[in-house]
Amino acid sequence: MDEIRQIEELKTGALRELVAIGSTKGLEAWRVGYLGKKSQLTGVLRSLGRLPLATRKAVGARANEVKAELEAGFKQKEQALLGAQLETLSGEEAVDVTLPGRALPEGRLHPVTQVLHEISDIFASMGFKVVEGPEVEWDYYNFEALNIPKEHPARDTMATLWLDYETESGDRPMLLRTHTSPMQIRFMEKVKPPLRIVVPGKVFRYEATDATHIPMFHQIEGLAVDKGISMADLKGTLYEFARRFFGPDRQVRFRCDYFPFVEPGVEMAIECAVCKGAGCRLCGGSGWIEILGAGMVHPKVLERVEIDPGIYSGFAFGMGIERIPMLRYGVDDIRLFYTSDLRFLRQF
């Protein structure tokens, strides 16, 4: 039975070769050679028809057995090779892990936006609703209704940019708001207490530009009005804000200050982060950094929006925003925020 011997030799050779194979490429060549359409084994199977019937059966059976054995060997080898490949890459195929990754374009929020979001979120979690108001305002909302009548000296502390718009009587009542406080009036005109709002936004001043002054900057205003609100609530709310924003270790100080639309008036300062209260150049030697102005809403302001100051009381506060990222990141020139320089903005 030459055919059977031939098949046995084929099998032995094939399996010997299979053991030595080390790559998927070699394995594929082996498969084509021994199991492909033109392989010897296929040839044997094809030529069965020419054999006498008795032989044909035996050879055919053996050839099919060997084919199955080789196929099993192939599968096993294939798994082994794939496994090895999944586990390690070697030589040229290995990755230089220090090559930079395929970059995704990166964009960030402006640092002032980031801080505004952060502050708004803190107050939102204390029940304050975030609202916005117009940037061009009437004198009435910006000054008059806030207890700052015409010719009041407090107007001089907020140098105003007036719009070129005159009424028939020659008044010039339209301006770029100098603070976010007008929204106190606008909101209370519409909504009666209890209310709690914060108002982030742009404000404008007639100022020459330098490292600490710009004609446009951001503020956030706060207002809470309800029955029974006292200065203790003001202190508690602002303490909580300071604790969350600046951290629990920074000392907070409340002192008397004057703003026409609150009484009593308050200024809140935090301990200077650089000198820890000892006094240094950053804090002007005082050890404190002024963060915001606040106070109990003036009865005249409440009366103006038809809220009875005998029943309701409230507190308000307002803080400049740019100072905060300046202190936090050590930015020494406020103009940098508004030059749109990517080398600056990408750092936040």
């Binding site: 395929r102 970059a103 374009p105 990166e106 964009g107 960030r108 929020l109 402006h110 936006t113 204390m126 609703k129 975030v130 609202v131 916005e132 940037e135 061009v136 009548p149 010719e151 009041h152 000296p153 407090a154 502390t157 940019l161 007036w162 719009l163 070129d164 718009y165 010039r172 770029l176 209310l195 709690r196 742009k202 404008f204 007639y206 530009t209 004609p215 446009m216 309800d226 006292s230 200065m231 203790a232 202190k235 709310t237 909580e240 100080r253 409340f254 002192r255 008397c256 200050d257 004057y258 009484e263 009593p264 003036h298 009865p299 009381s313 508004y338 749109s340 990517l342 080398r343 903005l345």
Partner: protein, 809 residues
């Protein structure tokens, strides 16, 4: 307000260390900005006495001065004209730190040889000690200064006085404040003098015409005075407070203004015509030459002091040159008056004439102050300039008011401060500030000492506290004197007010988060711009449309108009960054633009504008960047809108600032909400940008209503889909949108994706090939190939009849 501590000590004792005192004042509302030690470090400067003056052998104008320093006597060269034997002077030894009298620089004194004479020290001027700018004369110390002692510095407190406290713009006011804060009573004596002249009524009469602007007018008359220099102590106090000494009369009016807070003015009596003072509104266009020599044109809202013929002073702001005190003056009429604060503010601002007097009047000082102040000034004039004072003081006081009483209850104090303070303690604090008070239920109380007061008191503020009008004003006084740190800390305890988040703010946050995720950097730019910059955006037209709002008092011409678009600022940002950025620049801004409305505030829509310039990637080892094109901008808008749940159409646009053929209008539910496209090359060039710049712009205010509805959920299809690719050839003018509109008309088409656009061989000229992948799916059953074939054929037929499409072979 600068105030020397030594001056304060005349009214109140200061035992606290200055730093501590400064802190108390600051906490109570008057921030101490600095404690200046005049002269900096006064090392090696001693009190000396001039014991000999000899002429310099080689120089006419110089002298050799011998100064006794107790331990030794030194002879130095000195050029000052006011050397006087026996005077006490400040003597700087070699090594002292001084201000150079000529250069103003800080220097260390070295031994010198002046015109052949050795000089090992110096007799100092005020400038050299940084006390004032006076350099000609040497500084003369008070006779009681101990020879040989180190020269001690007089500290100056520099306070920030808030606009509600005009009473603190004075030494006495600050002394009162310190007294209240340290539990003392200030010692303020009334000035007295002998009146030896004739009755003043015979010499002058006063008429207040406009009593609404002048509640009170007092004057005194002093004859036979001698104009001259003020004594050193007075001059140095004025200098310390930042005022320049002029002559004894003017200096005294300034001195008393600093001391009492009441501005005074001295007229040359002989130049008052008709011997009558008339306080009246100026007539229209009336003119006066003010003291510093400028002609001022007044209006009918300004108050003047006039004589029978003309205005002689701008009331409360500045005196007139025509009645000025000069070297010849021998009789003066001294004015101490009270004026309406708003009127003074108006006049001073309208004339751009700021003065120490106006600054005090416009804050509203008490009409009770003129009398004590005029007495003090009159007394000083008699002492320092001689003369005889007429009998009496003219006191026209049409604006006298009853003292106001403010009802204050313990409940109110508790309600405002959130802490219980006994009415006793409240009364004690208010008393220390000069208030008087009576128990409210006065009839029922026999004895109302501090020990037995009711829950309510009626408080009468002292005359100098014109800022105390309401109970909350008094409560602030109590809080600031006991200290804000005594107020407890509480958290808002009431239920949260019912309120929903503002949808516009939520939308802005979603938009900016998406855009940063797509790689856009947020910028914030100024809302103010110039007409010239806006014009660059529309090269074809002469003026921007709409015409922007103008600022009446712009700081610079670059910031004269309110922006109507964000485009200009973003182009400038691209241009500026292009100087140092090689790769792609993606920027966005989210901000207001200002669109004028007649007779009303402008419309302020919230606008998003984003720009792309350069290429999608920087130079990289791993991938190649591709220059941005229209579809990068459009893709970002599409992603953004899709995230917001908004479906948009894009129509061909014709914005003049954008490049024709490369721009589209973004249409949402029929509303035109923005544009996407390429800037017109002439626009980008006008901003110094060479390559193309793409943008998209969305009106978020108008978009907002489209983002609010929640879309219903689409069930996931249960039956398998059949996918077919077709390629058709159409005329180049046929748009993708036209093709998809036809295809989407068939209900079994679930999805259409364009995957290839091609023109060129073998596609005939004027035609293009579009390849689509169509996904067929039925919600009710598994589709058969035959069904898909049938629909596909119907689609092709429809495309052929409606758009002249042929199947690409």
């Amino acid at each position: 307000m600068k105030v020397p501590v030594s001056w304060l000590k005349e009214y109140v004792s200061i035992d606290l260390p200055l730093k501590k005192l400064a802190e108390r004042l600051t906490m109570a509302g008057s921030e101490v900005k600095g404690i200046q030690e005049a002269g900096g470090s006064w090392k090696n400067i001693f009190v000396g006495q001039i014991v000999d003056i000899k002429p310099h052998p080689n120089a006419d104008r110089l002298s050799l001065v011998t100064v006794d320093l107790a331990t030794e006597q030194l002879t130095v060269v000195c050029g000052a004209p006011n050397l006087k034997l026996g005077d006490k002077v400040a003597f700087a030894r070699v090594g002292a730190e001084l201000i150079d009298g000529h250069s103003g620089q800080r220097v260390i004194l070295k031994p010198a040889r002046i015109r052949g004479v050795d000089s090992g020290g110096m007799v100092c001027s005020e400038k050299e000690l940084a006390i004032s700018d006076r350099h000609e004369d040497i500084m003369v110390l008070p006779p009681e200064a101990p020879v040989g002692a180190r020269l001690t510095r007089s500290a100056i407190l520099d306070l920030d006085i808030t606009p509600n406290r005009p009473d603190l713009l004075s030494v006495i006011g600050i002394a009162r404040e310190i007294a209240a804060l340290t539990g003392q009573k200030p010692t303020i004596a009334e000035a007295t003098y002998e009146e030896k002249g004739a009755a003043i009524e015979k010499k002058i009469s006063v008429e207040i015409v406009d009593t609404d602007l002048c509640p009170r007018y007092c004057c005194s008359l002093i004859n036979g005075i001698k104009i001259g220099d003020s004594p050193e102590w007075l001059k140095s106090r004025l200098s310390a407070c930042g005022l320049r000494p002029i002559n004894n009369i003017v200096d005294i009016t300034n001195y008393v203004m600093l001391e009492y807070g009441q501005p005074l003015h001295a007229f040359d009596y002989d130049r008052i015509r008709g011997k009558r003072i008339i306080v009246r509104r100026a007539s229209a266009a009336e003119t006066i030459v003010s003291l510093e020599g400028a002609q001022r044109v007044l209006d009918g809202d300004m108050l003047v002091i006039a004589d029978m013929e003309r205005a002689i002073a701008i009331a409360g702001v500045m005196g007139g040159a025509n009645s000025e005190v000069d070297q010849e003056t021998s009789s003066i009429l001294l004015e101490s008056a009270n004026f309406n604060p708003a009127s003074i503010h108006y006049t001073s601002h309208r004339l751009r004439l700021a003065s120490e007097a106006a600054m005090r009047f416009e804050r509203g000082i008490s009409p009770e102050l003129p009398l004590p102040a005029i007495k003090r000034a009159t007394q000083l004039i008699l002492e320092l300039a001689g003369g005889k004072v007429a009998q009496g003081i003219v006191d026209a006081y049409p604006g006298k008011k009853q003292p106001k009483a403010i009802l204050l209850s313990q409940n109110r104090v508790r309600a405002v401060l959130g802490v219980d303070i006994s009415i006793n303690q409240v009364a004690r604090v208010l008393t220390s500030l000069g208030c008087s008070w009576t128990p409210e239920m006065i009839d029922e109380l026999e004895d109302f000492g501090l020990e037995e007061v009711s829950e309510e008191i009626l408080v009468y503020p002292p005359y100098w506290r014109s800022d105390l009008n309401l109970d909350v004003d008094l409560i602030e006084e109590v809080a600031r004197i006991i200290g804000y740190d005594r107020i407890p800390v509480a958290m808002l305890a009431h239920p949260l007010p019912q309120q929903d988040p503002e949808p516009s703010i939520t939308l802005k946050q979603r938009v900016s988060q998406s855009l940063t995720g797509y790689g856009f950097q947020e910028v914030i730019t100024y809302s103010l711009t110039s007409l010239e910059v806006l014009k660059r955006l529309w090269p074809e037209s002469n003026s921007p449309e709409p015409m922007p709002l103008r600022v009446a008092n712009p700081m610079t011409i670059d910031q004269e108009y309110l922006r109507t678009t964000l485009r200009a600022n973003l182009l400038e940002a691209v241009a500026n960054n292009r100087r140092h950025e090689e790769g792609g620049i993606r920027l966005f801004e989210l901000g207001r633009v200002f669109l004028p409305r007649p007779g009303d505030l402008p419309d302020e829509p919230e606008v998003l504008c984003a720009v792309l310039s350069g290429s999608s990637l920087g130079k990289s080892w791993s991938a190649e960047g591709k220059p941005f094109d229209f579809f990068d901008a459009k893709g970002a808008v599409e992603s953004l809108l899709s995230q917001l749940g908004v479906t948009a159409d894009f129509e061909v646009g014709n914005d003049k600032g954008l490049r024709p053929g490369s721009q589209a209008i973004i249409v949402v539910a029929g509303d035109r909400l923005g544009v996407v496209g390429q800037f017109h090359p002439r626009v980008s060039q006008a901003f110094d940008i060479s390559g193309p710049v793409y943008l998209f712009e969305l009106n978020l205010t108008a978009l907002l209503p489209h983002t609010l509805s929640h879309k219903g959920y689409q069930p996931i299809a249960r039956y398998p889909a059949i996918v077919r690719d077709i390629a058709i050839i159409v005329d180049v003018g046929v748009t993708h949108r036209q093709v998809t509109k036809v295809i989407k008309g068939f209900s079994l088409v679930k999805q259409v994706t364009l995957f290839d656009v091609y023109s060129g061989k073998p596609v005939p000229t004027g035609r293009k090939s579009l390849a689509y992948r169509l996904t067929f799916q039925s919600p009710s059953h598994t589709l058969t190939d035959e069904e898909a074939d049938r629909v596909q054929q119907q689609i092709l037929d429809r495309l052929s009849t409606e758009l002249g499409a042929t199947l690409r072979g």
